[in-house]
Amino acid sequence: MMIRRVVGFMLLVAALLSGVTAAPRAGAQSIRLPEIRDITLPNGARILLAERHEVPLIALNAYVRGGSLTDPEGKEGIASLTAEMLRKGAGKRSAEQIAEAVDGVGGAFATGAGMEGFYVSGEFMKSDADLMIDLVKSVLRNPTFPDSEFVKLRSQSVDGILALKDDPGNVYRAYGGSYFYGAHPYGRPGGGDESTLAALTRDDALRCYRDQFGADRLILVVVGDFTVSSMEPRLRAAFGGWGKAASALPPVPEPERVGGRRVLLVDKPDATQTYFWIGNRGVSAVDSDRDVLDVANTAFGGTFGSLLNTAMRIKSGLTYGASCRLQRFSVGGSVGIGSFTKNESTQQAIDLALETLRAFRAAGLEPARLSSARNYINGQFPTDLETAGQLAGQLAVNAFYGLGNEEITGYPARIAAVDSAAVRRAVARVYPPDSDLVLVMVGNAAKVRTVAKRYGPVTEIALARPMIQALRDARQRSRPTAR
């Protein structure tokens, strides 16, 4: 099957590599939330519950603050492996028994790590609520970390990275973000790389679990076909006795904007397309302009008819898709254009992307585009909250960033009120000027090396090399030329 669209490309991989991404979109003319029971247990665990009875399903989203940010240097990937290990043995169940329990009832159950948090998510038929609670309780509180499972998972994770790298479309945005953030913790590839993973041990996972998991880090959201009065005591019983994490969260400084230009060329000698990312520092998930930026970025690179996709796909046929993303974490983020084009048109496509960015910064949004972006966000939003799983996800992310229900219910009005002056101000502040850009190109270096040099001082690495050390070397080499 072939699909027309490419906007929003690679969300899945982005989630795996970059973790808890941007803040939720919210909005629509009349958003009615079900009543939300929001409690904090004495040990610090926060629990949010809401009933939705349209279909007999229950969805669960849990975050534990921490995530890949807590990876010690040289042990990148340990948070991710630790989180995956949670479902490879917990309480009395082996990995196989956990899988059997989930699949046996047609459930869905996942664990993992994002940049800023570990997560557990699940969706089960209402009749399996007890099983769901028992699973989430035992994987969070009593994981067993069987050694044989650890060895297997580590090996599979290395192979998984190799497989991802065989298609540059899977990884170019991750290289873009990492190169921009540099040594900042947000620049860590969450899954580690081939080299760091290979050196990790079960003891590293045990340490990560002991240090980073605990009730004081937990946000647990359950939404679906149950009654709050019966669910609440069960969750209190499951998590009331859980202790706190053994260590504190590491401090995270605000990422700095890159001044001047720097270009990273990642060589994949057989590539017939160049995949490129152009960006710089963006904003945090709680930035005061977050709604304005939702509108601005929707118009610039968030929809099919956006400025970027119109210029690069609809009008010129240079690419299957071009988009711009705001990746938003607690204390900062990135803004990045992503696209790809055949080797021969690499320069033309990058020039056009830069020209579109320049024009956007200079002119802002014309009234029709502004109103279209507002309508689009508000028009699509109700279906972003349609299922129990969607609502649970949204509530969990909001709780994570300390945002209240107003973030959702007040959103339509805030979006509708975004005007062109606010957009102009936010765009000038957030989208990078021509002089300050990070450009990452993944492609056939022999074919596009000359083109790359047009945009600034170029550092070159091989895609086949493990990412962390390669990027570290690239930073060393590019330092003297960066302003």
Binding site: I3, V7, P56, A163, E194, F340
Partner: protein
């Protein structure tokens, strides 16, 4: 963020397989709709259907939980309707449907739809081309104007054709040429069919993408994009009356056309194993195996769905347990079924662990498949697969988009939207014996085509595990 996402051909086809699976499972068998209402409130709302004088069939499922509407239009045209020289044209046409019509120049479709708060997507398969719109209720009039204009009077101007050729070639490079698994997928499917057009890649062969003409497109439009070749489904915050009034005003005036030519070619039975080797740069090998299977409305569709779940559904499935977990010869495994108007394929795709090599992986895979035919499956495995079907059904019922797609699939592929609710009996009736008999027939060595992607590494330093310093 926009729900539009890029999906590789392989992944996208899985979505269709799931769609079909879910379409055919419901927890209760309503002999008539009223009976269903009592037990399954989500299905209780009135579904209305009408076929218009020009042959267009319209189905409406009111659901007022959100103030939005999901709309899907399916044309019975896909790569099976192509011939050498124009392969990929169905998919190209899908793109061209957004590039201007009589009253709305190129770019207007998206511009006006987005301005009204709507979004859209479209996809093409071997069997059909589908157009999806997700709109706030207030955008209904807009979407009808846009749809009517392009069904009636598509422009197909030569500037757009050339520009879109570049887009589709970029899509091909992205989804196929720079992706080893998809590249292998294409080669295996081509080898599995010697005569039937299911052997053509949906994206099209590169030489055809470069050369199809505007005349080819005009012929294709006239033949295939007639109202009598289309099914339209609406689910969401609407009433049948308002939809039917809009259809009468905007779509009924568009005349019917002679039906598209029947696909005559029948794939001759395969007489022995076929093997395809692809050598390309990369680090990770792949194995794909396809078996000739049935049509979307064959009697064993449900048994195959259940068998598929038993083999690859989740980490407790047979193939995951054996290949990934126990033998550790693979790092990932999944399957999907090409299922449509003509006999399709059941396909298993394995990402091979680079350390272990393809031989060990292949022999473990065939050992497991033979075991199903020889020893059958357990009652517990069958029960698990049926539970998965039921849960998936409810996941689809949770959204207006899922509801629209479920009805559309049942109507187009099984000839009646009511089949979406009539299937549970068929699922409930499947026995372990049925599964075993199917496996024995399907996994016959003579019925299979095997593809292997052998990565050929350029000597770049430090690609192996732990080798980097």
């Amino acid at each position: 963020m926009p729900r539009n996402s890029s999906v590789t051909p392989v992944m996208a086809t899985i979505a269709v397989a799931t769609m079909l699976l879910s379409a055919a499972v419901a927890p209760a068998q309503p002999r008539e709709q009223r009976a269903a209402r009592a037990t399954t409130p989500v299905l209780a709302k009135e579904i209305a259907v009408r076929t218009w004088s020009n042959g267009l069939r319209v189905i409406v499922w009111p659901d007022h939980d959100v103030p939005n509407v999901a709309m899907i239009t399916i044309y019975k045209v896909g790569s099976r309707n192509e011939r050498p020289g124009i392969t990929g044209i169905s998919h190209f046409f899908e793109h061209m449907m957004f590039n201007g019509s009589k009253n709305y120049p190129s770019g207007d479709y998206d511009r006006l739809l987005e301005a009204a708060g709507g979004s859209n997507n479209a996809y093409t398969t071997e069997n059909v081309t589908a157009y999806q719109n997700w709109i706030p209720k207030g955008a209904l009039e807009t979407i009808f104007r846009l749809e009517a204009d392009r069904i009636c009077c598509l422009s197909l101007d030569s500037t757009s054709v050339e520009s879109e050729r570049g887009v589709v070639y970029s899509e091909r490079r992205t989804t196929t040429d720079n992706n080893n698994e998809s590249f292998l997928d294409e080669q295996v499917q081509a080898a599995a069919y010697t005569a039937h057009p299911y052997g053509f890649p949906v994206i099209g062969w590169p030489s055809d993408i470069e050369r199809w003409s505007r005349q080819d497109l005009q012929d294709y439009f006239r033949t295939n994009y007639a109202p009598n070749n289309a099914t339209m489904v609406f689910a969401g915050d609407v009433t049948p009356e308002e939809i039917f009034a809009l259809v009468a005003r905007h779509l009924e005036p568009i005349p019917a056309q002679p039906p598209p030519p029947v696909i005559r070619t029948v794939e001759p039975p395969q007489q022995g194993e076929r093997r395809v080797i692809v050598r390309r740069p990369g680090q990770v090998p792949f194995i794909q195996v396809v078996f000739h299977a049935g049509r979307a409305n064959d009697a064993d569709v449900e048994a195959l769905d259940l068998l598929s779940t038993i083999l690859t559904g989740g980490e407790s499935s047979r193939l995951y347990r054996r290949l990934v977990d126990r033998d550790q010869v693979a790092i990932g495994i999944y399957d999907y079924t090409l299922r449509g108007f003509d006999p399709g394929l059941y396909r298993i795709l394995v990402t091979v662990s680079p350390d272990k090599g393809v031989e060990a992986c292949e022999s473990a895979l065939f050992d497991e498949l033979a075991r199903v035919g020889r020893d059958g499956v357990t009652a517990a495995e069958l029960k698990k697969a049926k539970n998965v079907s039921v849960a998936n059904f409810w996941r689809r019922m949770a959204t207006i988009d899922g509801k629209a797609a479920t009805l559309a699939d049942a109507q187009v592929f099984r000839g009646d939207w009511r089949d979406a609710f009539a299937a549970p009996d068929r699922y409930a009736r499947v026995t372990t014996r049925d599964i075993q008999a199917l496996a024995k027939r399907l996994f016959d060595e003579k019925n299979r085509t095997i593809g292997i992607l052998v990565p050929e590494n350029e000597p770049v330093a430090a690609t192996a595990k732990g080798g980097a310093r």
